[in-house]
């Protein structure tokens, strides 16, 4: 069995999904069921007291692992606070750290993310930090007790695919933690490419939630993730035929 291990938990699916941007929240349940996704992100917000909406938790099966994010946090301290609220509300001890104060591109603040990770990991959280793809940051996150790293493929919501491919490769080849590619994956082929490269999982929200048919989209992503993973395990790789004319380097050995 090909198992994804995050912290002390084991998962058979390598597709993580999100609850944002669905037109009809009733689609979340069949989306999870059909795609096999076992982890889903949620966000925390102040209740709109004039017009309280349905709580998103009512739309998620109890067997799904919740991954509350800290969206809205602009620094480590705010992220820590949000994580505690989520845990106290009974969401479990998983948390996706998301610290953003760049309103233009919504790029995560790696430095504050490391700080928040350190505090929360010490406090018993299973911390999955969302980061700009930087190998040095990943090593620091490893040192402070993160349980996985979530580098972005391209800016949030851009659906632009793996624009950061070279940087992601560095991380995948050197990380001792599971690498989950988050953000920017717009097509199943992007997800497949991430998995072929050796990513441990991908997180897809916008592309599924905003598709004309979110359930079919989720199935397509699920198949793509499986295909990419199988290709990786089968050690398929781009094989550039090696042919070149040059003077021999080993002639002196008289082979």
């Amino acid at each position: 069995m090909d198992i994804l291990k995050i912290g002390d938990r084991e998962f058979s699916s390598r597709l993580l999904t999100g609850t944002g941007k669905f037109r009809d929240k009733n689609e979340i349940k069949p989306m999870l069921k059909q795609s096999g996704s076992q982890i889903i992100t949620i966000a925390l917000r102040r209740v709109n007291l004039e017009n309280p909406q349905d709580n998103i938790l009512n739309f998620i099966p109890k067997t799904t692992t919740l991954l509350p994010n800290t969206s809205g946090a602009r620094n480590a301290q705010e992220a820590v606070r949000i994580a505690h609220i989520a845990r106290d509300a009974g969401c479990g001890n998983f948390v996706k750290i998301e610290v953003i104060h760049d309103a233009l591109y919504l790029m995560p603040d790696n430095e504050e993310t490391i700080k928040a990770t350190k505090i929360l990991a010490k406090d018993g959280f299973i911390v999955l930090p969302y980061i700009s793809p930087d190998i040095v940051t990943c090593k620091k996150l490893e040192d402070v007790g993160a349980s996985a790293v979530m580098p972005l493929g391209s800016p949030i919501g851009s659906n632009a695919g793996l624009q950061t491919k070279n940087l992601l490769e560095m991380i995948i080849q050197n990380s001792n933690l599971p690498v989950i590619i988050d953000a920017g994956i717009g097509l199943p082929s992007h997800a497949s490419m991430a998995m072929e490269m050796g990513a441990d999982a991908v997180l897809i929200n916008t592309a599924i939630a905003t598709a004309n048919d979110p359930i079919s989209a989720a199935i397509a992503f699920s198949l793509a993730v499986k295909a990419g993973r199988m290709a990786y395990l089968a050690k398929l790789e781009n094989q550039s035929r090696y042919a070149r004319a040059s003077s021999p380097l080993t002639g002196f050995l008289n082979l």
Partner: protein, 64 residues
């Protein structure tokens, strides 16, 4: 007296409890925080608010 509720000023009766603030909300799907401290569900009925308290009522919504 007056408190701050989810960022807005709100006048309330003296000796109101936290639970009194939430008549229409499902108590199981919200988190309550007073002055940055989380108040557990079963403590809300005994938690008496003071003038100037900063109350946050938080719930879960969709997000990626």
């Amino acid at each position: 007296m007056e408190i701050k509720l989810n960022g807005k000023n709100k006048k309330i009766e003296k000796n109101s409890t936290l639970k009194d603030l939430l008549p229409t909300l499902n108590p199981d799907t919200i988190v309550t925080e007073v002055n940055l401290e989380i108040i557990k569900k079963d403590k809300r009925k005994d938690f008496i608010l003071k003038n100037g308290d900063c109350v946050e009522i938080i719930t879960f919504m969709g997000g990626g």
